[in-house]
Amino acid sequence: MTIAFDLLLALSLLWSAWRTLATPRLDRAIVLFTIFGLLMSLACARLAAPDIGLAEAAIGAGLTGALLLDAYGALSRRRNAP
């Protein structure tokens, strides 16, 4: 059961990483990046490194995702304004 979960986790990590790089739309890429960060923190927790998992969830997924989304919003607003 655990090995099935780990395999699924590894596969979804690879899949979300690939989709993040390959998707043509920026907003989707940002959401996928956040998903990748959350899966990564789960993987860290599975590897018995909960400290890194906590930091990854808070900084990697949370703050970076919000920063990227804000930058995307600012970019599209600037493009639409003039």
């Binding site: 400290d51 906590l54 930091a55 808070a58 900084i59 703050l63 919000a66 930058a71």
Partner: protein, 220 residues
């Protein structure tokens, strides 16, 4: 035909690379120095019972000191580049979002304080606590309850530098006893908690500042 040749060449090279990479990983010998044993042996003298916190703030405290210095420097560089601008009124958020943020932020503050306290004996610590506090500030800004910061006033300046200054003061104070950042075992726990509290406040302000100083330009 040419395309097929190209594809097969790339595939061959890539699979050879993967093959050698896997071989190198499997051939990795046992690590020359096993640091787990000395870390566990000196844990009673470190003032905390969680090995990660012991490494970050006691054995390798110098690294953490430089880390907070680098983060502070990054924020100062951003401030130097962005310059001064008047605070723009934050955009209006949806009232449901605002109500949710009002509910979420107090519990985030409690979680941050818990993480700071738990760092001594289980996973947690200043960096995670600071990140949660910063996320709370970013959430408040995104729903329109917290305006972006125009420029650092005195209180904010003190808060940004407090963690680094406190860490440096402790390091300098311990210099009289021998070497840099060598805590006396009796006071180590209190000193680490003091440093971590300062670090949490500064980290929260620095990480939130990366967001709140930059986002005002976008709104103008």
């Amino acid at each position: 035909m040419k395309r097929f040749l190209h594809a097969s060449l790339v595939l061959t090279l890539a699979s050879a690379f993967v093959f050698f990479l896997a071989g190198a990983m499997l051939e990795l010998g046992p690590t020359a120095i096993d640091l787990r044993v000395p870390v566990a042996a000196h844990l009673p003298e470190s003032g905390v019972t969680h090995p990660v916190t012991a490494v970050l703030l006691n054995y390798r405290g110098y690294d953490t000191l430089l880390e907070i210095a680098v983060l502070l420097l990054a924020l100062l560089a951003i401030l130097a580049v962005v310059g001064e601008a008047p605070t723009s009124p934050s955009r209006r958020g949806h009232s449901v979002l605002q109500a949710m943020a009002r509910l979420a932020v107090p519990s985030m503050v409690v979680v941050a304080i818990y993480l700071l306290w738990a760092g001594a004996f289980r996973p947690g610590g200043a960096f995670q606590a600071g990140a949660v506090l910063a996320a709370a500030a970013v959430l408040l800004h995104l729903v329109g309850l917290l305006p972006s910061w125009s420029r650092p006033r005195l209180g904010l300046r003190i808060g940004l530098a407090a963690g680094f200054a406190l860490f440096l003061a402790v390091a300098a104070g311990l210099l009289t006893q021998g070497s840099l950042l060598q805590y006396p075992p009796a006071a180590a726990g209190v000193l680490i908690l003091l440093i971590e509290s300062g670090l949490t406040v500064s980290l929260a302000l620095i990480l939130a500042g990366l967001f709140l100083f930059l986002s005002r330009e976008a709104e103008a």
